[in-house]
């Protein structure tokens, strides 16, 4: 089950797509890199990624991990943000049968999972077709 303290640490990553940016070469990284993969600099600062991008590939997931059982089936997409950084996210408000690669998508905050025993809700990013 998702750890609530780890979740709290990651809020801005999940709500605002906060990655890191290299202070030397300007390269942007999401997930956040601690050592710049382009120039090796260790001085990176928090930086918000663009909230829009395009869908590179997608799959309809039918057998989720335990905590996501109540959401199945759902679409998982590989998304390339407008700055070239890539991430995985569910794609919502779409009909999976008609979903095309290269569709322009944007971030939306949705519920990811709930710990029904403890009563905590975990929110994070999913993506939905523009507008």
């Amino acid at each position: 089950m998702i750890n609530p303290i780890s979740y709290w640490r990651l809020k801005d990553r999940y709500f605002n797509l906060l990655g890191t940016k290299c202070t030397k070469c300007g390269a942007e990284w999401f997930p956040p890199a601690r050592v710049c993969r382009k120039c090796g600099c260790q001085d990176l600062v928090d930086h918000e990624m663009p909230h829009t991008g395009r869908l590179l590939a997608h799959t309809v997931l039918k057998e989720p991990s335990e905590e996501f059982r109540s959401s199945a089936p759902y679409v998982v997409g590989l998304i390339e943000l407008d700055n070239g950084q890539r991430l995985l996210a569910q794609v919502v408000d779409v009909d999976p049968t008609g979903l095309q690669d290269d569709t322009r998508v944007r971030l939306t905050i949705r519920k990811l999972a709930e710990d029904t025993k403890r009563g905590t809700i975990f929110y994070g990013y999913k993506f939905t077709p523009l507008p």
Partner: protein
């Protein structure tokens, strides 16, 4: 610096072992290997395993096994690299012997998966990938491979009938193997009609969730000679790590770690890929076998599915792969797989492969991946003389 040899192997049946625990499996495989060479007492115990904690509430597997084998005082520890734990454990045993720090290492790979229901097993397997950015968004390990499969098909236009050649081959070889999980051959129709699990991956494209353990005794040259049996050298043992997730990689279809490990292993062993007699390749899903073979240079880009369909990789083909069924046919108890592969390679080059024998096999390669080519190990075994 010594050379390292595989002296003996042990393997449990791969399957659903409701009545055998994690420990039962480890001990069974280990005793098989040890009893084959009663004169050798291991001076080190290394266990390869992925999720004994999440699956059985048990860590510290090195001491756990050593204790049951009455091997007190020897170095004993667990090595983990997701589904590549087995290969990493073998590598560690190899290094100990090469460095003259051990004379005889017991390497045991084990996984107990069937005690978990599907949802929990899926969650445990997903721990191979990022907790914060893969698991948290609801992606599973299968979905990562499904995305890869979709991109692979889009790039090369591969027909699903051709991809199906991999599981068909796996089941055919597994049917005659003693320790394999599946004994029933399947057809291309069976594969492409099987239900979709994570589009486009079907049930029969996926290796099964199962239990099993395999063990090896890796010894130095002196101990190997004393046995008077065929000498099987571990001619190379290489491990390589990739960028952690597929979305951090410039090209998700390029198995960088596989290429690095295979390249180094072949160079170390002084062997070209064309001189290898068989390859035990990591076919967790049909697409991983295809991409691994292409990254190693065995097949051209997008060509591996055509090669398997043409019969190039059959047991009696130009370059046999997965001679006992591979992950799909023999089974994939994740942390154990890498050790099963090396054990199978030993059986091949030592001429003990029975109905699955590749004629004249002398040099074999194994390829074991943790995650999606994230922790990849390649071993080359060679018969001396």
């Amino acid at each position: 610096m010594s050379r390292a040899y595989v002296a003996s192997v042990g393997m449990t049946q791969v399957g659903e072992h409701w009545r055998k625990s994690l420990l039962d499996l480890m001990v069974e495989a280990s005793l098989q290997a040890m009893n084959a060479c009663p004169s050798i007492v291991p001076d080190r115990v290394i266990v390869g395993n992925m999720f004994s904690g999440a699956g059985s509430n048990q860590e510290q597997l090195g001491a756990y096994l050593a204790s049951q084998l009455n091997l007190v005082g020897v170095p004993a520890y667990k090595v983990e690299g997701a589904c590549g734990s087995g290969g990493a454990a073998v590598h560690n045993g190899y290094l100990s012997v090469k460095a003259d720090e051990s004379e005889a290492v017991l390497v045991c790979g084990v996984e107990k998966m069937k005690d978990l229901d599907v949802g929990r097993a899926t969650a445990a397997l997903a721990m191979a990938d990022s907790a914060e950015y893969t698991q948290f968004v609801g992606a599973t390990f299968i979905s990562l491979n499904a995305l890869t499969h979709a991109m692979y098909v889009k790039k090369h236009g591969v027909a699903k009938e051709e991809m199906a050649g991999f599981p068909v081959l796996g089941h055919r070889n597994a049917a005659s193997a003693r320790h394999s999980m599946f004994k029933r051959p399947i057809t291309v129709e069976d594969v492409i009609r099987s239900p979709i699990i994570s589009d486009p991956i079907r049930l029969m494209d996926s290796s099964p969730i199962c239990d099993g353990a395999a063990a090896l005794l890796i010894v130095n040259e002196r101990k190997a000679k004393e046995l008077g049996d065929v000498m099987v050298e571990v001619a190379a043992s290489e491990v390589a790590a990739n960028l952690f997730t597929i979305y951090e990689r410039p090209d998700p279809l390029d198995y960088v770690a596989t290429r690095a490990a295979a390249g180094r292993a072949l160079a170390k062993a002084g062997v070209k890929i064309g001189q290898v007699d068989f390859i035990e390749v990591h076919d967790a899903f049909s697409v991983t076998a295809a991409l691994a073979l292409e990254s190693m240079g065995v097949s051209g880009p997008g060509q591996a599915p055509k090669d398997v369909t043409k019969g190039r990789f059959n047991l009696d083909g130009e370059l046999p792969i997965n001679t006992f069924g591979g992950l799909k046919g023999r089974g994939h108890p994740v942390g154990a797989t890498g050790v099963y592969q090396v054990a199978e390679a030993y059986l091949q080059v030592s001429g003990k492969a029975e109905r699955n024998q590749v004629k004249g096999a002398k040099v074999g390669m194994t390829h074991n991946m943790g995650g999606v080519d994230t922790t990849t190990s390649v071993h080359i075994l060679r018969r001396e003389g």
